[in-house]
């Protein structure tokens, strides 16, 4: 039953771009892409319980690494992609090593990740190799071998593939020893230590995985929009977006980030079109985030497992 529903959903996702106009294909691409980077947050923040306010640091490292290799050194972006992914993992390992070695937990870990992202943003804003605050433009040359796309269909399928990979990783976490250890650390660090778990090592591992995933998303973003700047790459907006979709959809669940991303993207598109209805509002774009901020409060207070838990509860 469950498998049949999943197969049907997958089939629908596969034929969707063949049936709808370009605008809706791009919306679908955004849903899967946001679900992917949300899942990168979920791996460390949801499964392992290490709340981060600065995941943009990994996103930005991925976006800048591939873009610098491509623009400044002439690498093919497809080749730069795995290097960018590895860099994200490396930065994740480094931040985790420093923070967890110092014994930071809970809110302090969240705040230090924010500060790391801010340091990277300021460096990118001032350094020559990132072209400072001007940002970096990737020369348009819409050929697939350049990791560029003439139509919205190809990036849609690529985002869908990324999303499926991230779902597979999350599914693996629910079935593997590594995942069980992460959940144990989230639920009770002392008990996890007593049962033989090397908490420090597992936390470094999960931040490495999460950082690598998020960086892979950064490269995809740069290649899709052909432009990045320090605020887009390292700003708090991206960090908050990843946290929000996961928390709202259900942290520590396989489908949480996807559910949250579908909801956020839908609200986003609806409010984008609401400008004509409320002319008094100068800019209705932020409305979706106001709604999401309220949902975050409600969920943390009332539904710690996200909206997904409502469905689960009904089944139980």
């Amino acid at each position: 039953m469950r498998n049949a529903a999943l197969a049907a959903a997958l089939l629908a996702a596969l034929v969707y771009p063949l049936l709808v106009p370009n605008y809706l294909i791009t919306v679908g691409m955004l849903m899967f892409f946001t679900a992917f980077i949300g899942q990168s947050w979920n791996v460390s923040g949801g499964f392992a319980g290490q709340t981060s306010f600065g995941h943009a640091v990994f996103f930005g490292v991925g976006a800048y690494t591939s873009t610098i290799l491509h623009v400044s050194y002439g690498w093919n972006p497809w080749l730069a992609w795995p290097v960018a992914t590895a860099m994200g993992g490396l930065v994740g390992a480094g931040i985790a090593f420093l923070s967890f070695r110092a014994g930071l937990r809970g809110s302090y870990f969240a705040l230090i990740t924010l500060a790391f992202a801010e340091v990277f943003r300021i460096v990118a804003n001032s350094a020559g190799f990132t072209r400072g605050g001007l940002g970096m433009l990737i020369k348009a040359d819409s050929r697939f071998e350049n990791f560029q796309f003439a139509t919205p269909i190809a990036p849609y399928y690529l985002a869908l593939a990324l999303c499926l990979v991230s779902l597979a990783i999350a599914w693996w976490l629910t079935r593997s020893r590594f995942g069980a250890r992460l959940v144990a650390i989230r639920e009770n660090e002392d008990a996890a230590r007593a049962l033989g778990i090397d908490v420090f090592a597992e936390k470094v591992k999960v931040l490495t995985l999460s950082g690598a995933m998020c960086a892979a998303g950064g490269t995809f973003y740069a290649q899709k929009y052909l432009y990045i700047d320090p605020s887009i790459a390292f700003g708090i907006d991206k960090s908050v977006e990843m946290l929000l979709v996961t928390m709202v959809g259900g942290a520590g669940t396989i489908f949480g980030p996807l559910i949250g991303s579908i909801a956020l993207t839908t609200i986003n598109e609806l409010t984008r079109n609401a400008a004509s209805v409320f002319p008094a509002l100068k800019n209705v774009q932020p409305l979706s985030l106001v709604v999401y901020g309220a949902m975050l409060i409600l969920i943390v207070a009332r539904l710690p497992d996200g909206f997904a838990s409502l469905l689960k509860r009904r089944h139980a």
């Binding site: 709340t51 306010f53 420093l98 923070s99 110092a102 014994g103 930071l104 809970g106 809110s107 302090y108 969240a110 705040l111 230090i112 924010l114 500060a115 790391f116 801010e118 340091v119 300021i122 460096v123 804003n125 001032s126 400072g132 605050g133 708090i236 908050v240 946290l243 929000l244 928390m247 509002l281 100068k282 800019n283 209705v284 774009q285 932020p286 409305l287 985030l289 106001v290 999401y292 901020g293 309220a294 975050l296 409060i297 943390v300 207070a301 710690p304």
Partner: protein
Amino acid sequence: MLDPQIILAGVLNGLLAGGIYVLVAVGLTLIYGVLHIINFAHGSLLMLAMYAVFFLWKLSGVDPYVALPIVTAGAFAIGFVLYRGVIGRWSHGKDENILLITLGVSIIADNGALLFFGGDTETIDVPYAGKIIELGAAFLPLPKVISCAAAIAICLGLGLFMARSDTGKAIRAVAKERQGARLVGIDVEHIFAVSYGIGIACLGAAACLLMPTFYVTPQSGYAFVLVAFTTVVLGGMGSFVGAAVGGFLIGITESIGGLLLGEQLGQIGISLIFILILLLRPTGLFGARA
């Protein structure tokens, strides 16, 4: 190397900015010290208070300094209500949860401001904006001197209030030992709400002192939240003396960092201090050992 006169001027300017950081940080450290919650909405609430000052001036022509009692009282009321309605109700349990709830408040505030006020940078033109005090080689803008002096006076007044008044004593009792305070008949929930209100009132006052020389955008909250946290962590979470020393140190760091590294890269000092303190000495300069 830079002229020592210029460095001295930088230090003086840093101290002037630092005075207001002290006021912002005292609010944050009070909330942490009494309620043991990390108020991530601190920057965003400051931003809202700055908009309040801006609109009072723009719509009714109220001078920012004249607005101080009104905005401070209003901020206290908003803080009190926010605690009673949202934060206090759900502030129990894991500390990340309350961090996420205050993040939610700040997301609503930031995007609400963008929604209603737009993304433009707003400033107030006061007639005394260009007045300068000469102190050796340093030219100090008069409003900055007034604001810094006022911020210090408010902090001292708050210190006196905490030391002498019954409410202040009750707040300190709750901060030290909330169970004990409950046993001797203090209404702890009420004290929590009052403390949160005072913490936000500090922001109301700070907003009035900032606006004559500063600007506000919906992103101002984010710019201030890291400054405020760095100040408090540097001084030691929950320590008033620490917040005071930290505020001036951060002001100087920012000013000298700007001189040496330029406007852009100069901001890096604050984040680096924050990271280094958390990694090397999480109790800060004046914090009690955990």
